[in-house]
């Protein structure tokens, strides 16, 4: 089996790792880079627990081969907080109790970030459809949706010129 050297940027840091040709990006993140915040709930792109942002696009890390990451810019949950300062989404998830077991939370947060990166003021329906690929079995989504909408409001507030 041939393994190849992959160079990419993960959470702003250049990384180099060895990847098998058939290895998923998720396995590479978890097993090679030990970034275990991205979770495997299904391995088939149905649950979104492994959501990461690659070159600005939200993807399931389980549905991308590790060698494809060559030259890309990858954002994972480990990079969402800025130097120890929680992102407004992380704040709101905590404030609103938008997690119970917390297993789907990293994926939900990354998916929500990708949404707010392109839509500063999403409707409830837009949030729900955008997050349809992120399964949560604990919360019934109510508090998750509220947290995302309130984080959007926080971000809009922070953007306002003072």
């Amino acid at each position: 089996m041939s393994r190849m050297v992959v160079n990419a940027t993960v959470n702003g840091e250049p990384v180099e790792f060895l990847a098998g040709g058939g290895q998923s990006l998720l396995d590479a993140l978890r097993d090679e880079l030990r970034l275990t915040g991205s979770k495997e709930g299904c391995g088939t792109g149905d649950c979104g627990a492994c959501s990461v942002i690659v070159d600005g696009r939200l993807v399931c890390a389980c549905l991308m081969l590790a060698p494809e990451a060559e030259g890309t810019r990858i954002e994972t949950i480990e990079g969402l907080a800025d130097n120890g300062h929680l992102h407004p989404l992380q704040h709101q998830f905590l404030e609103q109790a938008a997690l119970q077991c917390g297993f789907c939370t990293p994926g939900l947060l990354m998916a929500s970030k990708a949404l707010l990166d392109r839509n500063a003021d999403p409707t409830e329906s837009e949030v729900r459809y955008w997050l349809a690929g992120n399964m949560c079995r604990c919360t019934g989504y109510d508090k998750v949706v509220r947290a995302v909408m309130d984080a959007a409001a926080d971000l809009r507030q922070a953007e306002k010129p003072r």
Binding site: D46, V59, L65, E70, G133
Partner: protein
Amino acid sequence: MSGVDYLAPASVADAVSALRASAGSARLMAGGTDLLVQMRGGRAKPEVVIDLKRIPGLMGIRGEGGGFVIGAATSGAALGEHEALKAAWPGVIEAANLIGSTQVQGRASLGGNLCNASPAADGVPALIAAGAVCIIEGPAGAREVQVEKVQAGPGKTTLAADEILLAFRLPPRPARSSDAYLRLIPRTEMDIAVVGVGVSLTLDAGGVCNAARVSVGAVAPTCLLVEAAGVALVGTTLDDAALAKMEAAVSAACRPISDKRGTAEYRTKVACVLARRAALIAKDRANA
């Protein structure tokens, strides 16, 4: 997945020669959202994966001859962000954007959707209805073929083992033309279509339909072009009688199976319902 080699050729020629060199042990990958699932489940065991996304012509959308050429590996998300394409072919784009979740949209492509050859592929009925043409490259050079000629059965296409689907050509759009795609799934998202229907049509100045194509998915081993359904609409204003005739044609064309996703009877019934609804949406859009 041991022993899998990953190749990312930068040109079509390199991809074709890699494909030939693999002697049948390679799989082409666009977004990979079907292939990786099959590899994980052991249903696909390629020795080589040829990633097409680094080939310029396979990615992106360009205008050509009044129509559009869509690179076969272009992601659904990129299609949805192309305003001109969306305005001309809203049905094709809504179909492409129904494939999987937001995450899957970041990867899944119409080319992959077609070549995966699922009878329930969301993108395919819309492309067939649109009259889209596939641009295919092989050792003998390029050829073009109608989308409806590509699927050969579940998981099978009419492409030769050493051919590569490069792009789709969407024809120029006459005035007062539009299209629509509808599917039925039990949930609101994330399901495979139980039935999918694409309708594309053109109206004349008086609102009479002068061209129409209807295609259905998940009701036969391949997505079908139902020519009689399109014929039923031509020359009408999509009145109840015409729609009933179209539904009868759709119903006659359906030969579904009963499986975990739906019964044969239900699929046929719903195909008619969706065909009528999609036709009316396309009509409204064409009038708009």
